[in-house]
């Protein structure tokens, strides 16, 4: 067991931190305030290999590991969880095409996704199918060498802006085994979008419903075999959960760093509030809990990289812990700011609003407990 990052991983981390500090931090407040989807910044990140971190290098990906990705997303999220999280979703959708697409499909879509010439979205959730995702009702009927899609997806990150939608739809009977996965391009006839949702956080990325009305997509756009879609979606989410967990770790660390600066400067009762034991105890707990969540997340990432059968359980455990702890640490960081923490001039309240949703999406933290609990009980 070796808890040291490799020299390369330290380099990846340094590069991501440098990019976040110089290209994201100065604008993150603005992106949130004005609901700007920072396409140019995302493309600059893509030029550094951040849009296909664990996509194969033959199609423009970086060919790295999940652990590498977790380190990178933590750095990006330390300044802007919302933008980092969109990038993580793009990475997840791209990986699904990389892993389950045919050689032609990979060559067709991935170079543009790795450069972010095209943006990607992941479409599983429906108005009536959230935690019970396998009950989804969007249908894909086979018609010759095409499928015809009808239905609606809800809360789609990148919705309306993305060029590529990775869509889970029902091709067979009820339940998880009747689902298949399709790549749907934005310009296909029959694709439409709901109004942009007004959200608490995650304002640097668009979110809306995505609708399919007798949308025809070639059979070649199907990822994997018919009926494999739910499995593909869940495999995507194993990595997606690590990424979202890493984004929570990053946001919490960013908030805690801001709090540290504040308590060292803020004077009350004649001294810096950092000198009070009440403050130090709080900081000690924040640092300890954040580090324990990070350890579990990195372990889960290592298991997924090793294709260990326990990976799904550990990814769920790590996502639950990192997103809960991340939010709590951020909340404490806000508390340490006092009234200033509630003011938009300081970054903490933005990070807090961004991190709140991490406990809900990529499988809610209640569903994480279902995944973990079932596996423990069934041994």
């Amino acid at each position: 067991m070796d808890f040291q990052l490799t020299e390369e991983q330290v380099q990846f981390q340094d590069m991501a931190r440098d990019f976040a500090t110089h290209e994201m931090a100065p604008h993150a407040g603005d992106w949130d305030e004005k609901k700007i989807f920072p396409e140019d910044t995302l493309r600059a990140a893509a030029a550094l290999g951040l849009a296909g971190i664990y996509v194969g290098d033959d199609v423009g990906g970086s060919g790295l590991t999940r652990l590498d990705a977790a380190l990178i997303f933590e750095e990006l999220a330390a300044v802007c969880p919302s933008t980092a999280a969109y990038l993580s979703i793009h990475n997840m959708a791209s990986w699904m095409i990389d892993r389950f697409g045919s050689q032609d499909t990979r060559q067709k879509f991935l170079p543009n996704l790795c450069s972010m010439e095209h943006f990607a979205s992941y479409c599983l959730t429906e108005p009536g199918a959230g935690s019970d995702a396998a009950s989804l009702r969007t249908r894909a009927e086979r018609d010759g060498d095409h499928y015809v899609l009808n239905g609606q997806k809800a809360f789609i990150s990148g919705g309306g802006r993305s060029d590529i939608y990775v869509v889970m739809a029902r091709t067979g009977a009820d339940g998880p085994k009747g689902i298949s996965t399709f790549v749907v391009e934005k310009d296909r006839e029959g694709l439409s979008f709901g109004k942009q949702e007004v959200k608490m956080g995650w304002n640097s990325q668009p979110t809306c419903a995505v609708m399919f009305d007798t949308l025809r997509v070639p059979v070649a756009n199907r990822l994997g075999a018919e009926g494999e879609g739910f499995k593909i979606a869940m495999m995507g989410l194993d990595g997606g959960r690590l990424n979202i967990g890493a984004c929570s770790l990053g946001g919490a660390r960013g908030a805690m760093d801001a709090a540290l600066t504040h308590v060292r400067e803020r004077k009350q009762f004649g001294k810096a509030i950092a000198e009070f034991q009440a403050t130090q105890f709080k900081l000690a707990d924040m640092a300890t809990e954040l580090e324990s969540a990070r350890l579990l997340l990195h372990k889960a990432a290592s298991l997924l990289d090793a294709k260990d059968p326990r990976a799904t359980q550990f990814c769920a455990m790590a996502k639950r812990l990192a997103t809960d702890v991340g939010f709590q640490v951020c909340d404490e960081a806000l508390q340490l700011h006092g009234g200033y923490g509630y003011i938009r001039e300081y970054p903490v309240e933005r990070i807090l609003r961004d991190l709140r949703v991490h406990r809900i999406l990529e499988g809610s933290n209640e569903i994480m407990r279902v995944i973990v609990g079932r596996r423990i009980v069934s041994g």
């Binding site: 380099q11 990846f12 790295l64």
Partner: protein, 283 residues
Amino acid sequence: MHIVVCIKQVPDSAQIRVHPVTNTIMRQGVPTIINPYDLVVLEEALRLRDQFGGKVTVLTMGPPMADESLRKALACGADAAVLLTDRFFAGSDTLATSFALSTAIKKIDAEEPVDIVFAGKQTIDGDTAQVGPGIAKRMGLNQLTYVSAIRSLDLGSRSIVVERRAEGGTQVLTTGLPCLITMLEGSNVLRRGSLPDMFRAARAEVTTWNAEQAGVEDITQCGLRGSPTVVKKVFAPKPRNEKAVLVETEGKSDAEIARAAIDALFTANPKLEAEIPELVLAS
């Protein structure tokens, strides 16, 4: 097009401490970086390669650990790296360094003809600015120093047009290839290395040459033996004993104080008025 960029691994001067008694630099435990002036020419070389095609080879002379600096350059997009390392090179001054580097560049050139050699304007540890020109002289290359921008490059006629900072203005110079160029800080900013490039750099093969492999025939021109420079003394300069200009502030507005301070400055430095436009132009 083949471009060779000479780089040097130096102690990070921001983190150097000077021994309080001996006034010598305390190098122990000081992290090393690529000489910042070298980053400017590395970026320029990469841009020319991106625009015109070809290859960028980075070259350094130093201890085996200088390999780290070469890998950083590879991570930023350089195509090949050569490390000159040999105990015979130890203790080189600028004369011996330019000898070793130019010998190696001649060998690189014999394998794949070199069009441009870039070197940093100077290093932050030695600060001599002699090695680049030394290489040019030894190799008979046209030399362009203190370049602030490359205006154009024509591979057909093998000519290059650059802007060079000169006292009181900018020179525009044209010369033929091959040539050696040193550039001013601030001319550009080195790009970030991408993940695939970092990945590649960590696994890339760095060509390592000792003196013999680099093509050195006369070992007496290398290292300490080839270095006539003797460091006689290292010392911190004494502060100059100059009087400060005092301006009366009692009962005056900020504008009046500022006016009085400026007047005093111009009275004390009669030539300042004529120099200001040049300073502004040069900045």
